[in-house]
């Protein structure tokens, strides 16, 4: 299941991408328009800023804004930051790989085999979608 954090993060990014210009948008505006708890959204936007997706401006007239164009923001990167691993098991994860302690051999593991395909198909989708693709 997609976490609320990811869902809200995607909505916030989409909201910013849909703006006509690059002016900073206040957290309160995004929270209200997208029906998100403001405090929760605060922490999500903060993590998107720390990972290079958003910039922020303090003080009056401040807020958050996209650092790159929507067509340059891949869903692969966004999902990894917000949701974590794309793989459903660590033993097929590209960026968060871990061995299964209960599994003697990955190569003969049926779960491994299936989840590898699921990961690849999900990656395909994320790689073929930028922020621009999902807002139009």
């Amino acid at each position: 299941m997609l976490s609320k954090k990811t869902k809200y993060g995607l909505k916030a990014l989409s909201y910013l991408a849909a703006q006509p210009d690059k002016k900073p948008i206040q957290i309160s505006e995004i929270a209200e328009k997208e029906n998100i708890s403001q405090k929760f959204l605060e922490s999500i936007l903060l993590s998107l800023r720390k990972t290079g997706f958003l910039g922020s401006k303090k003080g009056k007239g401040g807020g958050y804004y996209l650092l790159r164009s929507p067509e340059d923001i891949s869903m692969t990167d966004v999902m990894r930051v917000l949701e974590g691993p794309i793989a459903m098991v660590p033993c097929v994860s590209l960026n968060f790989y871990e061995t299964c302690d209960d599994c003697p051999d990955e190569n003969t593991c049926s779960v491994h085999k299936l989840m590898l395909q699921v990961r690849d198909s999900a990656l395909d989708v994320y790689r073929n979608n930028t922020l621009k693709d999902i807002i139009s």
Copy 2:
């Protein structure tokens, strides 16, 4: 993330599918060979029996066995029983559909748009894999 229930369920089904004949296999044997807590596995096998994947035989020489051939068991059905919805959000689920209470319009929702593709790609994988496919 894939739940342990699903992981163990898949492993148990694979173990049964890999048997040379259709003799009942005891829970204790599967639990030991696949490194699964026996009591936990009990509850998983029970749910697979109730949903028509497994049969069981009581008494001495009893155990669990597949009711259908591995090539007739689709991963789509197995995943829905073990893991639940294949979709990552209820608003794109075929079998467990629910509206989002925070979302005014599905058709313009970027999350909806992305997750629809992810669901379809996952479904493709599950539909193209039977139990036989993942054990060989």
